[in-house]
């Protein structure tokens, strides 16, 4: 019987292997990447059409376009999926190419904060335009 690395005396190889290996967070990020990808297929095509529509719009027209409830809701879902999918992709890129442990951990944490911050900012911006637009139409 061969000796496994870290194996001492009568310790079971499974006992030694447990807690090591690649299965730290399991399949969840992989699955979420697919779920957000499926959501982004129709959403990004819709987003292209929306961009085409406001390409040469002036500022009030842009506000009116964002403040339409259907547009506002789709925009919120779009940016949440966008940041989530992007963060999952960047996470894999960092895992693949950054081999210095402290730098990898720092980048992974910075990525999570950055993605959360970006998504929050984008959602708040849509909400601000949507709700102030609603208030404007109530007042007039």
């Amino acid at each position: 019987m061969s000796v496994y690395p870290g194996q001492e005396g009568l310790r079971n190889p499974l006992k030694v292997a447990r807690g090591l290996g690649s299965s730290r967070s399991g399949v969840r990020p992989w699955w979420l990447q697919r779920v957000t990808a499926v959501a982004l297929v129709p959403l990004s095509i819709w987003f292209l059409f929306l961009m085409g529509g406001v390409l040469h719009a002036d500022y009030p027209m842009v506000l009116a376009a964002i403040a339409q409830p259907v547009h506002a809701i789709f925009l919120i879902v779009f940016v949440v999926c966008l940041f989530w999918h992007g963060a999952l992709g960047l996470q894999v890129v960092i895992e693949d190419y950054v081999h210095t442990r402290w730098l990898e951990t720092t980048l992974q944490i910075a990525l999570r904060f950055g993605a959360l911050l970006g998504a929050l900012a984008a959602v708040m911006a849509v909400l601000a335009v949507w709700l102030t637009g609603a208030a404007y139409y109530c007042a007039h």
Binding site: R34, A37, V38, V41, S44, I45, L48, G52, L55, H56, A57, Y59, V62, L63, I66, L75, V79, L82, F83, G86, G89, L90, V93, G118, A121, A122, M124, A125, V126, A128, V129
Partner: protein, 140 residues
């Protein structure tokens, strides 16, 4: 501590196949689209801030560098979308497996890969022709 474990064979030992191009482009366009996410966020925050802030954003998008970046973002989005759809199909096991890498069993393997590249370019040109026609026609 230097790693004394044997390394697995890397890129150099493989015969070139079209999926290498797809994989590389998928990752590069994904990275570039993460930058695009920041542009989307900038636009939304600018819209929520003020007319002046929106005009700074709109001026950037309309500048030479902005237009070139937007064209590249359009292609990146469409390539990532088309290639991502193939990824999703393969995740479901469609045309996936050792037999499907063999020209005799799967003659469309190479053409499918090149078709994804070609379709994304054609769609990008189509989107921009439609946008320019809209501008030229004065519809906006």
């Amino acid at each position: 501590m230097p790693n004394t474990r044997p390394l697995s064979p890397h890129l150099g030992i493989y015969r070139w196949r079209v999926n290498m191009l797809q994989s590389t482009l998928h990752r590069l366009t994904g990275l570039f689209l993460c930058l695009g996410t920041l542009l989307v966020t900038w636009g939304l925050i600018a819209a929520a801030s003020s007319g002046a802030a929106w005009h700074v954003f709109a001026a950037f998008c309309g500048s030479w560098i902005g237009l070139v970046l937007l064209f590249l973002w359009t292609w990146s989005l469409l390539f990532h979308l088309c290639n991502g759809l193939q990824h999703l199909l393969r995740d479901m096991g469609v045309n996936f497996g050792p037999a499907n890498r063999d020209r005799t069993h799967d003659p469309v393997y190479w053409s499918a890969g090149w078709a994804i590249v070609a379709i994304s370019i054609v769609l990008t040109v189509l989107v921009w022709v439609l946008l320019l026609l809209q501008v030229g026609g004065g519809a906006a």
